[in-house]
């Protein structure tokens, strides 16, 4: 009769084997000459553009991660491994400058507009919700509006605009915070909320109905900035990527995605 191997021993053996294999894979991976890697942390609203830029950039592998600029800036300040930061607001570039986390001067990458979107086929589109106060008047009982969380640039622009229009207090009970602007977009697309505040460029990449544009004078200018980071693994590559963002190819991509160029 076959002797049964005790479970603990079997697990230990399996683990040892797995570790040996992983070790081999790692050793093999580092032995081959790999191109340098540029880790780009970018505002969620730049997702498609930065993914396309990553493919265009030559001589290095670009690994992008996306999130709220506020969240990314805090991670960078806490020492997260990153080479370049693309922020949807100058505020979080300033934050990192104060923390002495930037390498060289930041550049202005692009500009954007803040818009209000509703799910496809929403009655709000036909019903005349053409500005923030009309939207508020048209919302049914219990209907909610998605907004990026406080501190997240898209949420800050929207809150400042509503405050400027003296509508923030009236909106407050209807606002559902979301972790970043793409989470807002998703909640609207899924029909979980009646409307949401996103960037004009976001409205183009989802099946949503655009209700109105916020008056640009009601909030600070929506300006994207990019900077190489002090903690970069390869500062030269990080700077080269930031320079690439100002080149013709990058500008053409940004313009095609609907961003205004500086």
């Amino acid at each position: 009769m076959r002797r049964r191997v005790p479970l603990a021993r079997w697990l230990a053996l399996a683990l040892a084997r797995w570790l040996a294999l992983a070790g081999l894979a790692l050793a093999g991976g580092t032995a081959a000459a790999e191109p340098p890697t540029v880790r780009v942390l970018a505002a969620a609203s730049l997702t498609e553009v930065v993914e396309a830029l990553a493919k265009l950039f030559e001589g290095a592998r670009v690994v992008p991660s996306f999130g709220a600029s506020s969240e990314l800036a805090r991670q960078i300040a806490d020492g997260a491994p990153a080479d370049v930061f693309l922020s949807a607001s100058p505020e979080w570039i300033d934050f990192l400058r104060q923390k002495q986390a930037l390498e060289g001067a930041p550049i202005v990458l692009a500009r954007n507009q803040l818009v209000c979107v509703a799910p496809k086929g929403s009655p709000l589109a036909a019903g005349g919700a053409r500005d923030p106060s009309a939207l508020l008047a048209h919302l049914a009982k219990g209907e909610l509006v998605a907004i990026a969380d406080a501190g997240v640039p898209a949420g800050e622009y929207a809150r400042k605009s509503l405050q400027h229009l003296h509508l923030l207090a009236a909106y407050e009970p209807r606002l559902v915070g979301q972790k970043d602007v793409r989470a807002v977009l998703h909640a609207v697309e899924q029909g979980e909320v009646a409307a949401g505040f996103v960037y004009a460029t976001d409205a183009r990449v989802a099946a949503v109905e655009r209700l109105f544009v916020f008056d640009p004078k009601s909030h600070p200018p929506i300006e994207y900035q990019a900077a190489a980071l002090r903690g970069a693994a390869s500062p030269a590559e990080a700077r080269r990527f930031v320079a690439f963002l100002q080149g013709e190819a990058a500008r053409a991509l940004l313009a095609r995605a609907g961003f205004a160029l500086p």
Binding site: A150, L175, G177
Partner: protein, 225 residues
């Protein structure tokens, strides 16, 4: 001390956790008793389903709940048609998320407590002419009570800390669904949020520790029975 917004956050958290435990108690006692006494192959499967939220990523639990109860999903729509209200993104959604995630802890504590009850005492009660329900209410439940309460306190503490399923199903509405963990998560994005985070962290640690100690004390009483 706590500001007005923070006090609102703490009170909402306490209310959500209390409601979640209150709603879980009756089904929790029923299932705990079932898992302690019922001998059937299906029991393991049912137990697995009930325990699932303990090991599933809470965000996945939240997604499953949203897929069922979301405002554009069938059950969410049916609820809206029936009551005119909504589930997703309301305090009710927080309570549901907290109840589902805390439920396994409650059921498991009750199951252990009921397994510890001497079955001969139940048999004595039956032999003296008491019905099964009466025996359960007058013998089994009172003997298992410390364990039941320990489970309630533990699931209350778990409900207070619930974040993953809550953020998906209930979002982040000030005064409605912004519980302590959601508020802390929001404050992480705010430039000068550190002081408020520290205050809410202090409250969290104090509440969690008090609940754990309470549950230990109650469990110890259960063992002595």
């Amino acid at each position: 001390m706590l500001g007005d917004a923070e006090r609102e956050v703490v009170l909402l958290s306490l209310r959500v956790a209390a409601l979640a435990v209150a709603a879980s108690l009756a089904p929790g006692i029923l299932l705990g008793w079932l898992f302690a006494r019922w001998r059937h192959p299906l029991r393991a499967l049912l137990q697995g389903v009930v325990m699932l939220p303990l090991v599933l990523p809470p965000v996945v639990t939240g997604y499953l709940l949203l897929a069922a109860l979301g405002r554009s999903r069938p059950l969410g729509r049916a609820f809206h048609a029936l009551t005119g209200g909504h589930i997703a993104y309301t305090t009710g959604a927080c309570v549901i998320a907290a109840a589902v995630v805390g439920f396994p802890l409650l059921v498991e504590a009750i199951r252990l407590a009921m397994q510890g009850v001497d079955r001969r005492l139940e048999q004595v009660s039956r032999s003296l002419g008491r019905g099964p329900l009466d025996t359960f209410a007058r013998v089994t439940l009172p003997l298992a009570l410390p364990g039941v309460l320990a489970g309630a306190v533990l699931s209350f503490a778990r409900a207070l800390g619930e974040f993953g399923a809550t953020i998906v199903l209930a979002g982040n509405v000030a005064g409605e669904t912004r519980t302590i963990p959601v508020a802390v998560y929001t404050l992480l994005n705010v430039r000068d949020g550190e002081a408020a985070i520290l205050r809410l962290t202090g409250v969290s640690v104090a509440l969690a520790l008090a609940a754990l100690l309470g549950s230990f004390w109650l469990s110890a009483r259960q063992r002595r029975v």
